[in-house]
């Protein structure tokens, strides 16, 4: 049910643009094979780009010459995603926009070395997303709720990292605002230390975690003994996840109320009320001034080549608050709940391991090197909203509206190195909620909308010889199996072609599709969110 009268024509026009873009982007691949003017011009272009590094030449080098102890670097990245479907109402959303993002990100990274052992690091991000300004869309109004969706405008977001490190052979002390990535695998299993800006929702990829993690102020101490290490974290500064909000491109279409209602209702927009009319009180968050509210983590890594393994424990807060029902009122015959979002304590226990070997005499390929990775996180005391209990509270049996469960998320990955620099990864992941029941909502680490989810990811990537490996293409399929109630929640497929224009400039074209599954399923709800993106990155 499109809002505009000619979705077919619009679709065709869009396809033409996509084809043109593909042609322009990929047209140069045949350079070594093609003869004539085009090849010669491309050669000139290549040689020009080989030394094209204006920011390096006019900014980085002069700064580093003036301050020899300083390392200065950065990048500018423009990345855009455009929907392949026309404007239409999907669930509760006015999907009347085409650009999911038009993001411009400038990163400036500096390292000042006071001595061989002491260094100060600072990473700054300047981000602007034109999606909210450069297209007319009633469905995109998220900056009314939070301006950071459009532009990073405050210290918290601009100064991403600022820390002082002191290193000796056997000891590291890193103090300040930083991000930590625990784990060895793609995806988030024991990578749970920092909160995440999940503005892209289901489209957030592991390759973007670096820019989407939300660094926190902490003390990070590591003791190295032999090839092993013991890492302690003390995190007084709590950061919560930032999820898609009303009026942002990836806000779930299955969540009420409709955009027309939200736009007109400041309380819902601001998160002070929900669709049922309940009052949402101010979120209670852990305090940096209270030692009892701090987070603590410990990680042991052991290297016993060809096996390496590690264990973690993290005494943390849930990065997403749980809604606690704290009161009930009847107004005009309708029952309204009083809800207080609160972060709750979690105990994370994790393990990670990897092992490598090479098989010889494998038919067709001869030698076949492989790597096996395993990772798991068991989380205790996760609060799940329980709709039966919420209903009971609404009916007068006042209770918190939630239950406590343990969850497990784990994965095993096998990576193969096939001929032609072809990498293949098979990575089945499991999300599981212990003692699950149908009335449960979602909770950290647990299955989405079910007792268990099984996500067998398949990934293949290879460079192309005729482009002298400047072109790489990868394909990822992420099917989402589920049980015992939903069975199948759709599949996400991603095709990426990346091309090195020079050692400073890289371009990527990304096609992402969400197929099958029901309108309430994790991928099924985004059935009309298939998109093509492009990304241009210049590093200096």
């Amino acid at each position: 049910m499109g809002q505009h009268g000619e979705p077919g024509r619009e679709h065709a026009r869009l396809r033409r643009w996509v084809y043109l873009l593909l042609f322009l982007s990929l047209g140069g691949w045949g350079q070594p094979c093609a003869a004539g003017w085009l090849s010669d011009s491309w050669s000139r272009f290549d040689r020009y780009l080989a030394t094209f590094d204006p920011a390096g030449r006019f900014v980085r080098q002069p700064i580093e010459k003036r301050i020899p102890a300083l390392t200065f670097k950065g990048f500018y990245r423009q990345w855009s995603d455009i929907l392949l479907t026309g404007n239409q109402q999907i669930g509760f959303r006015d999907k009347d926009f085409r650009f999911l993002q038009l993001q411009h990100l400038l990163e400036i990274e500096m390292h000042y070395q006071f001595s061989p052992h002491v260094e100060l690091t600072n990473v700054n991000h300047f981000l602007y997303d034109g999606a909210y300004n450069w297209q007319h869309a009633a469905g995109l109004y998220a900056p009314r709720r939070t301006e950071t969706m459009r532009v990073y405008h405050n210290f918290d977001r601009i100064v991403r990292e600022l820390y002082l490190s002191y290193r000796t052979h056997s000891f590291d002390v890193v103090l300040g605002k930083q991000q930590i990535a625990w784990g060895k695998m793609d995806g988030r299993f024991i990578d749970v230390i920092n909160a995440m800006d999940v503005r892209e929702g289901v489209q957030l990829e592991a390759s973007d975690f670096e820019y989407r993690r939300l660094p926190a102020w902490m003390a990070n101490l590591t003791y190295f003994f032999g090839a092993n290490s013991l890492n302690f974290l003390w995190i007084p500064n709590f950061e919560q996840d930032r999820n898609p909000v009303f009026g942002s491109p990836w806000f779930s279409p299955r969540l009420p109320p409709a955009d027309t209602v939200v736009r007109a209702n400041e309380a819902i927009l601001r998160g002070r009320a929900n669709a049922a009319g309940d009052t949402i009180l101010r979120r209670k968050r852990p305090s940096a001034g209270d030692w009892g509210d701090h987070e603590y983590g410990v990680r042991l890594d052991v290297s016993m080549e060809p096996l390496t393994w590690g264990l973690i424990y993290y005494y943390a807060w849930n990065k997403n608050p749980t809604n606690f029902v704290v009161g009930r009122a009847v107004e005009d015959g309708a029952t309204r709940l009083l809800v207080r979002p609160r972060h709750t304590r979690l105990h994370h226990f994790g393990l990670t391991a990897d092992y490598a070997t090479a098989f010889s005499g494998v038919p067709l390929v001869g030698e076949l090197p492989i790597v096996l990775r395993v990772e798991g996180l068991w989380t205790k005391d996760v609060r799940f909203a329980d709709f039966a209990r919420i209903q009971a509270a609404r009916s007068g049996d006042l209770n918190g509206g939630h239950v406590t469960r343990d969850t497990l998320r784990a994965a095993i990955a096998v990576e193969f190195a096939f001929p032609g620099n072809t990498a293949v990864i098979l990575q089945p992941s499991l999300l599981y909620t212990f003692h699950w029941r149908e009335t449960l909502g979602s909770g950290f680490g647990g299955a989405v909308g079910d007792e268990w989810n099984l996500i067998p990811v398949f990934f293949i990537e290879r460079p192309f010889r005729f482009t002298r490996d400047r072109l790489r293409v990868s394909f990822t399929a992420t099917p989402f199996l589920s049980g015992p109630t939903r069975d199948w929640q759709g599949v996400k497929t991603k095709l990426i072609a990346s091309y090195n224009f020079s050692q400073f400039i890289t371009g990527r074209i990304i096609y992402t599709a969400y197929s099958s599954g029901d309108r309430t399923d994790i991928y099924g709800q985004y059935d009309k969110w298939d998109n093509v993106g492009w990304e241009v990155s210049y590093e200096f």
Binding site: S39, K73, G226, N421
Partner: protein
């Protein structure tokens, strides 16, 4: 008609180009000899047998203990040349400036600081006598400082001696600042070139002589290996003390300044030996054979040619070496500049091992620096500098000479017409010439 003319034209161009690169070395008299052409005096130090007594414990090794005494079989020369892989067989640090260039001028370069810990003492002897198959013998840490995209990326290579049972050659870990985690990677396929490079894993870590069958092909005198273009008259090199010096390209000798066996006209006498891939050791290996030009005295490989499964020359590797570890005397030579050329892709890669410093690692260093976890710290403990990158595509090294006239019975060389034309243009200009065949070839 037009098509026929085009074909004739292309053939003419190809023929004239082939004549051009065939004549590339015609200025010199014949420098090479087959085995049959060697004099008795020249044969005095070589043993032409291909079947020799075997070591009773380890049958794939010769019975004669290493280091061997003359006369040398081809196999023994192969073992001696194992002293000199791309990365030296002793503990050291260095700044490795490397890069690749396509025929169109796409230049991709990098710098990595290498911290290298060779475990079984220095040289081959420790490898042969103190390293059992399946046991590790070398730990290499690479810290990338250029280009900006790779700044802070690191790799750890843990190398193992292999045999037919223990086939894992490498434990391979990477760290990327953008991932902030150490990741174990599958070991690279040994004979397969790295993306956007001519170099393969085996080119870097060296090949074990027992995986090949050896035969002496003849002798030769080399006068040039790595060649500089006229557009780059000098190179900036860094010594072990960190001092920079501008070295004129003409002053760079193939075996360095201290090598005592140059001929009067500056050549290096070499044996030419063939290493044919043993299918029982390396099935599906991309190279069917390699030809080595080994200097006659230390068996340093100044030129290595790799042939594909169809027997055609695929890759040429040439080196400029330097005495970097005087304590090891004749075994202390290391690659200073190495150039690789893939004929089928018309792709070149180079590597300059700059600021080479012999290093005796302390016990603490050994324990901490060379483990996967160390990479997470992002600590560049030895910030060595190198200024040996190529500034522009036009200043890249010349394609190595192909010597189509040498050992024609042993060497099958097929060069595409457009590549032959570029080689001819390069030889005429004294620098690389870019652009398409049939259009105006452009250069600096």
């Amino acid at each position: 008609m037009k098509k026929a003319l085009a074909i004739v034209g292309s053939l003419w161009l190809a023929c004239s180009s082939l004549v051009g690169w065939a004549a590339e070395n015609s200025a010199r008299v014949k420098t090479w000899k087959t085995v049959e052409e060697l004099t008795e005096a020249e044969k005095r130090d070589i043993d032409l047998r291909t079947e020799t007594p075997r070591d009773p414990q380890c049958p794939y090794l010769p019975a004669e203990p290493y280091p061997f005494q003359p006369p040398y079989t081809a196999e023994e020369m192969g073992y001696c040349s194992m002293e000199f892989p791309h990365i030296s067989r002793w503990s050291h640090i260095m700044a490795d400036a490397y890069g690749s260039l396509t025929s169109g001028g796409y230049l991709n370069q990098g710098i990595t600081i290498g911290l290298n810990y060779y475990m079984p003492g220095s040289g081959m002897r420790g490898y042969l006598e103190h390293t059992a198959p399946g046991q590790e013998y070398y730990r290499l840490v690479f810290y990338y400082t250029y280009p900006p995209e790779n700044w802070g990326a690191q790799e750890l290579w843990v190398l193992y001696r292999t045999d037919q049972q223990a086939t894992t050659k490498l434990d391979y870990f990477t760290y990327f600042p953008s991932l902030r985690r150490v990741r174990r990677q599958p070991q690279p396929r040994r004979g397969e070139r790295f993306p956007n490079s001519v170099q393969s894993f085996d080119d870097i870590v060296g090949r074990d002589a027992w995986e090949f069958s050896w035969r002496i092909v003849g002798a030769d005198v080399l006068y040039e290996t790595v060649r500089f273009p006229t557009t780059r008259p000098s190179i900036t090199l860094t010594d072990a003390g960190g001092h920079l010096r501008e070295v004129p390209a003409t002053q760079l000798k193939m075996m360095g300044d201290t090598y005592p066996f140059y001929t009067a006209d500056g050549g290096v006498p070499c044996y030419v030996v063939e290493a044919r891939t043993r299918q029982d050791w390396l099935p599906h290996y991309p190279a069917s054979k390699l030809l080595y030009w080994l200097d006659r005295h230390y068996f340093y490989p100044l030129r290595i040619e790799q042939y594909d499964q169809a027997g055609r020359l695929r890759v040429v590797e040439v080196r400029i070496a330097k005495q970097e570890n005087p304590a090891l005397e004749d075994r202390g030579y290391a690659a200073l500049i190495t150039l690789y050329y893939d004929l089928s892709l018309d792709l070149m890669s180079y590597s300059v091992h700059d600021a080479h410093t012999v290093k005796e690692w302390s016990e603490t260093d050994r324990k901490t620096l060379f483990g996967p976890d160390f990479m997470r710290r992002g600590w560049l403990m030895y910030p060595l500098k190198t200024h040996s990158l190529v500034r522009t595509p036009e200043e890249f090294y010349l394609r190595p000479l192909l010597y189509p006239d040498k050992f024609p019975r042993e060497r099958t060389i097929e060069v595409a017409a457009d590549v032959a034309a570029r080689i001819q243009a390069q030889e005429a200009a004294g620098h690389l010439v870019f652009g398409a065949v049939g259009t105006t070839l452009t250069g600096p």
